[in-house]
């Protein structure tokens, strides 16, 4: 949501906003992050998520029954 030094406000969905420590990641406003016990530990790549889904579909189509 917004970044200030090592802290950021993260939207957890349904209007829940929490302050999260982002010193372990390179995150910009708008990024999705994986949060563990109050710390962002990785930036989640939406592109990767979408690619994963399409990769799964092609694996499942390719495997002979």
């Amino acid at each position: 949501m917004n970044v200030d030094g090592s802290k950021a406000n993260v939207d957890f969905g349904q209007g829940v906003l929490r302050e999260v420590n982002v010193s372990l990641v390179e995150a910009k406003v708008g990024d999705y992050v994986l949060v563990h016990a109050g710390y962002a530990i990785q930036v989640i790549e939406e592109k990767e998520a979408l690619e994963t889904l399409s990769l799964w579909n092609s694996i499942l189509e390719a495997t002979p029954q």
Binding site: N21, G38, I41, E48
Partner: protein
């Protein structure tokens, strides 16, 4: 993300399940082992085992970081609390039995024990109450250790110290391979530990042990996909390291987090509750941070505690030798409300996961 729903899509699940069924060898069993309480939660909660053919089995290894903290280290935390130090810890840890008592029981007897959501909460508390001494009980695997490192290296207030009980996952996986009668055929590696450590620490499993290993995420489709990938490797006679979770796990992991961990900790041998001593499996604060090491600061050290209570079979559950419902105490003498062993206390404990999701069992 709307795409999230696709990671729980039942049709996709059935599709993967039928691919697994068609690939699973007609003879012989495939035993897949994971080492993450959250993976066990996903598997149990979504009833994934009921989707698998009879010859594909998934067992739970020691993936619960709270369950494997030795009673001796709970005793150390209790000692600190009884000395008048404010002990802060994650919620799960509170009810884990020590040799004489849990932190909750110490609190009931008058000690100041406080649950925190994040280690930074402990730092804030220490800053706001400079007249008191604080200790943070740092439990967890590689997913949690970096946050302890961030705070320990961030010039914490002098009235705060750390009781470090972090453990590392790959040594536990190696241990499981040494347990002869377990006969594991493949590993599902934990996705969020891997977000930190990357893929390299698992390379020895396919390379040296011929063990198919797949790093998996935590949605039900992630886990099913990982099972499919392992079964596929088995059917092809290959043993590779694969990453099912590239949206979170980079091959190099989180470099920043690894650097912080390296700066704050050294790797040492450690005791695991119910397992014993594993070399190079625990973290301790470096000499440069000795002023913040609770054990050194207050001279607490408990060598041996009472890990397993009479009748408790947690030591067999955590290495996947028995399932929770094979323990005679399960849901009888040992329940989520009145737990006997650590596996029933922690939210990531195999027994508690089963107890809370019993309706989902196939």
């Amino acid at each position: 993300m709307a795409e999230n729903l696709k990671f729980r899509n039942p049709e996709l699940a059935q599709n993967i399940a039928s691919k697994i069924k068609s690939l699973a060898p007609k003879a012989g069993k495939i035993k897949i082992c994971h080492v993450c309480g959250t993976h066990e939660w996903t598997i149990t909660h979504y009833g994934l085992r009921s989707l698998l053919p009879e010859n594909v089995e998934v067992i739970a290894g020691p993936g619960c970081p709270v369950c494997i903290v030795p009673a001796a280290e709970i005793d150390e935390a209790v000692q600190l609390a009884q000395m008048g130090i404010v002990v802060t810890c994650f919620g799960d840890v509170l009810r884990v039995p020590g040799s004489q008592m849990s932190l909750l029981e110490a609190k009931a007897a008058g000690a100041d024990v406080r649950i925190v959501y994040a280690v930074s909460d402990a730092v804030e508390m220490a800053k706001h109450e400079p007249q008191k001494q604080f200790a943070f009980f740092a439990v967890g695997f590689e997913t949690t250790a970096p946050s302890t490192a961030v705070e320990a290296l961030g010039n914490p207030p002098k009235n705060l110290s750390f009781l470090v009980s972090h453990r590392l996952i790959p040594p536990a996986m190696e241990l499981l391979l040494g347990v002869g009668d377990l006969q594991i055929d493949g590993f599902i590696a934990p996705g969020h530990v891997s977000a930190i450590i990357g893929l390299k620490p698992y390379e020895l499993f396919p390379r040296v042990y011929r063990m198919p290993t797949v790093v998996a995420g935590f949605e039900p489709i992630d886990v099913l996909m990982a099972i499919y990938m392992i079964v596929k490797q088995q059917s092809e006679g290959t043993a590779k390291l694969e990453n099912e979770y590239p949206r979170v796990v980079k091959p190099e992991g989180n470099i920043k987090a690894l650097e912080m961990m390296n700066k704050a900790f050294t790797v040492t041998g450690g005791n695991w509750r119910g397992i014993g001593r594993l070399p190079d499996s625990a973290l301790q604060l470096r000499e440069s941070l000795a002023d913040y090491d609770a054990r050194l600061k207050y001279g607490v050290h408990v060598e041996q505690g009472k890990d397993i209570l009479l009748g408790c079979e947690c030591h067999l559950v955590i290495i996947g030798k028995i399932k929770p419902d094979e323990c005679p105490m399960f849901l009888k003498a040992c329940t989520p409300e009145k737990p006997v062993g650590a596996c029933m206390v922690s939210n990531e404990g195999t027994c508690r996961v089963w107890a809370k999701n019993v309706a989902a069992q196939g």
